[in-house]
Symmetry: C2
Subunit: 110 residues, 2 copies
DNA sequence: AGCCTATGCCTAGGTTTCCTAGGCATGGAT
DNA sequence: ATCCATGCCTAGGAAACCTAGGCATAGGCT
């Protein structure tokens, strides 16, 4: 499945709901939540997380006391705002697309 | 509004429902159907139509007997198949994204 | 007549986004 | 001892979209 520009929203949503999570777990969470629809490669997720951090939407820290080294990400206040905005954007897109692809059907209905 | 990889679906949908249409009218149709959500620049639409034609999903002809020269596009049988496929893809994406961003809410509900 | 706007087509180039294809290190199971 | 899963990373390419133009003509207005 193709992400098509909505990766940021998905990442922000996972981080918002699941709290501090490391990258690998984000990938797993997306796979599980979407029931396998989204199986996003690491080469996509890690750079995206770095970009979000550069943008100030998340902060990361290296987690101690775990068997392996993990970088744990967490939303910033700006990140929460961005999440809401992206979600609104997403709903707008869905409404728009539905309006276009559903036009024929809608016209056929009373 | 950002199209994010779904332009092909929108174009195919318009051409499928509205029959033979020229490029400028496609832009207008998208704007109207979506109630202004999609106002897609010509620099986006024309190359996209050309790409669809190269892919064999649409055919075009120059329309005669109109005040201005117009290139009119029409879906091919392959185009109709592609439209259905893209629509299915779109629904899959929506389901997936909703599952991810709605997880917190869904978990909170019975 | 001259001008401006809307119609209608087009391309070149840049930016962004994502994926492919690797590399690297370690913990646990066989 | 070996292999797989975990866990991180980058470089480079491909695709998609937009910006920013250019070009031509019809029709309205002054």
């Amino acid at each position: 499945m193709d992400i098509r520009g909505h990766l940021d929203l998905l990442l922000l949503a996972v981080l918002a709901d699941a709290g501090p999570v490391h990258g690998y777990a984000v990938i797993a969470a997306l796979r599980e939540r979407s029931q396998g629809v989204f199986d996003i490669p690491e080469g996509t997720v890690y750079p995206a997380l770095h970009k979000l951090e550069r943008a100030g939407l998340v902060v990361s820290r290296w987690e101690q006391a775990t068997p392996r080294r993990r970088r744990v990400y967490e939303l910033t206040p700006d990140g929460r705002v961005a999440r809401t905005a992206k979600q609104r954007e997403w709903r707008g897109l869905v409404r728009g697309v539905q309006a276009v692809i559903g036009s024929a059907t809608l016209q056929g209905m009373a």
